[in-house]
Amino acid sequence: MNTVLRLLTLSLAVFASGMVYAVSDEEIQKSFYPYNGWTPTADGYEPGAVVNQSNVEKYKAILDEALYEFVKNGWVEVQTAATTDFPLSDDYVNATKQHSDGVSLNANGTLNGYVAGRAFPQEPDANDPDAGQKMVWNYQYGFNSGDSESIEPFWWTYRDMKTGKTERVLKFSWHFMNYNHRVTFDPKPEFDNNPAEIFRGIYTKVLEPFDLKDTQLLIHRYQDDTKRDDGWLYLGFQRRVRRLATGQITDAFLGSDLMIEDFEGYNGRVSDYNWTYAGTRNLLLPFYNHNEQNLSADPADDQEGYRFVDVHGKGNCFPNVTYQLRKTYTLEGTPKDPNHPIGKRVINLDSQTMTMASLVTYDKKGDLWKWFPIGKTHSSNHIDRNKGKGVALDDYAVLVDVQAMHCTTLQFKSIITDDVNQPGLFSVQNLRKSGR
């Protein structure tokens, strides 16, 4: 009887603290290694198939809604290849094993007890009303760019989709660093002396064109998800740092097709949206081995011989890469702000890496507005410096504005490194020091 009482008490305590759930090894294995002994399939689909305007209906179920429309319109053909494993770093997996048991949701949707790793490695349950909220946290604290990533060169090309004309090329260096929840780079799990409790720093500097050269952007995202990011902009022509009004994150960034809220797929507060889990399906995602693709001639001067993923299709708005069939979670987000210009974000998350493979955005009327795939290569199929890092590397992205018939392609070289990504780089003073 005492044992029963103790169990009952323990269970009540567990419920009271927000449904802490013991994660089994099997769940960990299934979450991080879904292709260990299993390969996703679809009726009539074989790897190597070319999906085009003539056969798109046959593959409709394995294309996201936007890509289906584009292929149907004849804007692009999709080359496919066999599904490959994208194993994440053992450090991240081990952190999940170690800490996920203690993670739960607070009443306001924020995380309780999160330290590092994947917060909710369990298979999502369509009957769980919190499944979407849990999934967005897995995405938010995913291993998208490891603890620390530098991207340079990073070319943003503005393209007229109708004519294929290149309107403008912006060149950046870009840096991301987590202040806490770190699993691979020291200090782990977090930096000392972080009184503001910053979760993540984002720093970028514009190298070209001349009118924007030396513009720098710094964003601090806080551990407290309900707290708005802080942002600062260094304007080369003013030679001073300007505090940003960061609340307006639906503004197009530097005239591109990306809202600030679009960075990395979703760059807002989790609490700004209502999130729902919209099912699991096998989709063709732009996951590939970078070194096996037909690459661009740019950047011609890279000292490691690195070349960007090339573009093709209508307006040169599409990545010329192979897609593979992968287990995908679909996450839908609807903004809480009634004045938000977006009606719905549909994020297709790769289940193994919990990275965003594609984002389909609808306007307030429910019409297709934007498509934002992020091409992934495994770090072991990239430059030597990335080998062994266990990251599904961001390798290419494009934001297609269907309504404006315009796109911004993002071609870049990701490096998983902490060489320069230290707190000093993500400080306001660094903007001044680096300013010209």
Binding site: Y158, E167, R168, V169, N193, N194, P195, A196, I198, E208, P209, F210, D211, K213, R228, D230, W232, F237, Q238, R239, R240, V241, R242, R243, L244, A245, T246, G247, Q248, T250, D251, A252, L254, G255, S256, P341, A404, H406, Q422, P423, G424, S427, V428, Q429, K433, R436
Partner: protein, 646 residues
């Protein structure tokens, strides 16, 4: 120098042609990536109502950097530089207004000259009637015979403030030479406002080698825990503060207002100085998210703002015109309208009234400018505390110098005499700034405040006609990106407003015997509001904006619409206008009622030697009440510029 600027002009034109036939010029980088160079060439042309072309400036700028790496204990050592040269053809194309042929004969007003004024030697000479007199045709005081003669002709002159008040009214009238100093040296002030034509056309090719706009070395000494000491040594811009358009804390570098009054981008208008700039980056700690300490030592010889000399295309407050008028009076004598007895045009001989010289700061280690700043972030609020001890960038007209009695020719220091030196007093400033974001209204705020001691102001109630005062300046700025869907549904407009305030703590303004104000001309309290709306179209390649500014006390405003079109990554065209509205000239006590000489006291009914009783007009002090916006009311402009960056 003439050859240099002509060659530069040709080079610019040739470069414009060459790049014009190429659409893909980019920055140059050496094979090892250590040298990088880029720059621009530009033509900027302004047309002004009434006077025509006010700028036709071709400019080339080359920016370069050299990465060096590690040198001893220093890391990230690098060198950077900016070379700049300009050629403003306005002085050639519009030389009737701004060049060798500018100006002409003038007539100074006299309201009347009462017959039989005691002491003026009997019957009035012909011409002393209501109306006006030619230069040199006023009441002749001691040694004033040369006015209007060969050495001081009635030519190449303009009436001070005539564009605002027509040179009429009941106040004193002054005239100033308008031609470059190599054509007409009258009123040019050595070492301060003495530019010849080539220096006006190509201001970078001057004695201070401004063609080397910036040249500095960066180096870092890394310390434990991510801390570091950064050095930047050389000619550079150091920007303090968080404001746009006007400055409160941004006082480290002087500004070239002759480029375009207050309307030139500060990045282009600041005058870089040789500075040792040292920063200790403590970084984040247990209390502060970021904390840094900065020390500045300005080792280059101090220099003031360039205000624009008399006759140049831009002259803030028309102060340069005023100074040149006063310099002329001192050097060769001048005719002053409506002066004697408050109404008669009067000829003053040399050394009696005017500006004797400018005492620009010498290089002296004790007089170097030094500054310090603590800057950081605390609970998401960016903050700074700033202090600086420096030579004023603004001139102070200090009376009380030795001058000549205009009646007797005796020399001495005469209280209330209109005889000045220009000085640049030492000023101590302490201030601070902060910025923060307010989520509820999606707005960022910027605030600054600065307290100074040692600033000097014109004060007609004192015997030396100036006084010092502590001054408090402050500003609050508001920025909000705001969607205006019917104008642009995808891109927010930047709305930005600022309110600047100035409070003169020891303000002195009294009512004189005539019932009019006497004392400090500057307003005790004044405010200037600014508002910017900036739009972004065509993927930020078409950028319309409107900037407005309004001076509350002067009741004068300006509105500057502009459209910037980035034709390509290299080419940019800018169309704009600068239109003024509101009040122009304002009046203030002009000290003509003061009685500086004992001889004059004996001749007039005035109660002995004494200060101003408050008789006033537009000139010369009303400009300090009109402010830079009010004093440019007649300078509406349309503007176009074409820039090619490479």
């Amino acid at each position: 120098m003439n050859n240099i600027t002509n060659n530069l002009y040709r080079l610019l034109l040739a470069s414009l042609f060459l790049v014009g036939i190429s659409s893909n010029a980019f920055a140059w980088k050496s094979k090892d990536g250590k040298w990088v160079a880029h720059g621009y060439i530009e033509n900027s042309s302004h047309g002004r109502n009434h006077t025509g072309v006010s700028r036709s400036r071709s400019r080339g700028q080359l920016e370069w950097s050299r990465s060096i790496g590690t040198v001893g204990i220093f890391r990230n050592v690098s060198m950077h530089g900016t070379l700049r040269g300009s050629y403003d053809a306005a002085y050639e194309l519009n030389d009737n207004n701004f060049g060798d042929n500018a100006g002409g004969p003038v007539r100074l007003q006299q309201q009347f000259f009462p017959a039989g004024v005691p002491g003026f030697g009997g019957p009035l000479a012909a011409g002393f009637t209501a109306g006006s007199v030619a230069w040199g045709g006023g009441l002749a005081l001691f040694n004033s015979g040369g006015i209007g003669g060969a050495a001081n002709p009635n030519d190449g002159l303009a009436l001070l403030g005539a564009d605002l008040h027509g040179g009429t009214g009941t106040g004193v009238g002054l005239a100033y030479p308008v031609r470059p100093c190599d054509t007409d040296s009258r009123g040019c002030i050595d070492g301060y406002m003495d530019a010849d034509k080539q220096e006006l056309i190509s201001p970078e090719f001057n004695d201070r080698a401004d063609v080397i706009r910036e040249a500095y070395i960066d180096a870092t000494i890394p310390l434990n825990g991510g801390k570091e000491i950064n050095f930047r040594v050389g000619r550079q811009q150091v920007v303090w503060g968080r404001t746009d358009l006007f400055r409160v804390l941004d006082i480290v570098n002087p500004v070239d207002f002759s480029a375009q009054n207050i309307y030139e981008e500060l990045e282009d208008a600041r005058i870089p100085m040789g500075i040792l700039n040292m920063e200790y980056r403590a970084g984040g700690g247990k209390t502060f998210e970021d904390l840094n300490f900065q020390l500045l030592w300005k080792f280059e010889q101090a220099r003031p703002h360039t205000l624009g000399q008399g006759g140049s295309t831009y002259s803030i407050l028309q102060a340069g015109n005023f100074f040149r008028a006063m310099g002329t009076c001192w050097q060769v004598g001048c005719t002053v309208g409506n002066f004697a007895v408050g109404a008669g045009a009067t000829d003053f001989g040399p050394g009696q009234i005017g500006i004797r010289r400018a005492n620009t700061p010498d290089w002296d280690i004790e007089d170097n400018d030094i500054g310090a700043r603590v800057e950081g972030v605390y609970k998401g609020v960016g903050f700074s505390l700033n202090t600086m001890y420096y030579n004023s960038h603004l001139p102070s007209l200090r009376g009380g110098i030795t001058s000549t009695d205009a009646f007797t020719g005796a020399t001495g220091v005469f209280p209330h005499a209109l005889a000045f030196d220009i000085d640049f007093p030492r000023i101590f400033m302490f201030g601070g700034s902060a910025d923060f974001y307010v989520e509820k209204i999606k707005s960022a705020f910027r605030i600054e405040a600065a307290w100074t001691t040692g600033e000097e102001f014109a004060d007609t109630s004192t015997s030396r006609l100036f006084d010092d005062s502590d001054v408090m300046r402050y500003v609050i700025g508001w920025d909000r990106p705001t969607f205006i869907p019917f104008l642009n549904k995808n891109r927010a407009f930047l709305l930005s407003g600022q309110l600047f305030g100035q409070h003169i703590l020891n303000h002195n303004l009294t009512t004189g015997p005539t019932g009019l104000n006497v004392g400090m001309v500057d307003w005790k309290d004044n405010w200037i509001g600014t508002f910017l709306i900036q739009g972004f179209y065509k993927n930020d390649t078409v950028l319309p904006r409107v900037i407005t500014a309004y001076d509350v006390r002067a009741q004068a405003g300006t509105v500057a619409p502009q459209v910037e079109w980035l034709v390509s990554n290299n080419w940019k065209i800018t169309f704009g206008a600068n239109l003024k509205f509101g009040h122009g000239a304002r009046m203030f006590d002009d000290n003509r009622s003061a009685v500086p000489y004992g001889t004059l006291a004996a001749l007039t009914p005035a109660p002995g030697v004494g200060g101003s009783t408050g008789l006033g007009g537009f000139e010369p002090l009303g400009r300090f009440r009109s402010g830079p916006i009010g004093m440019a009311q007649a300078e509406d402009e349309v503007q176009i510029s074409l820039r090619y960056r490479f």
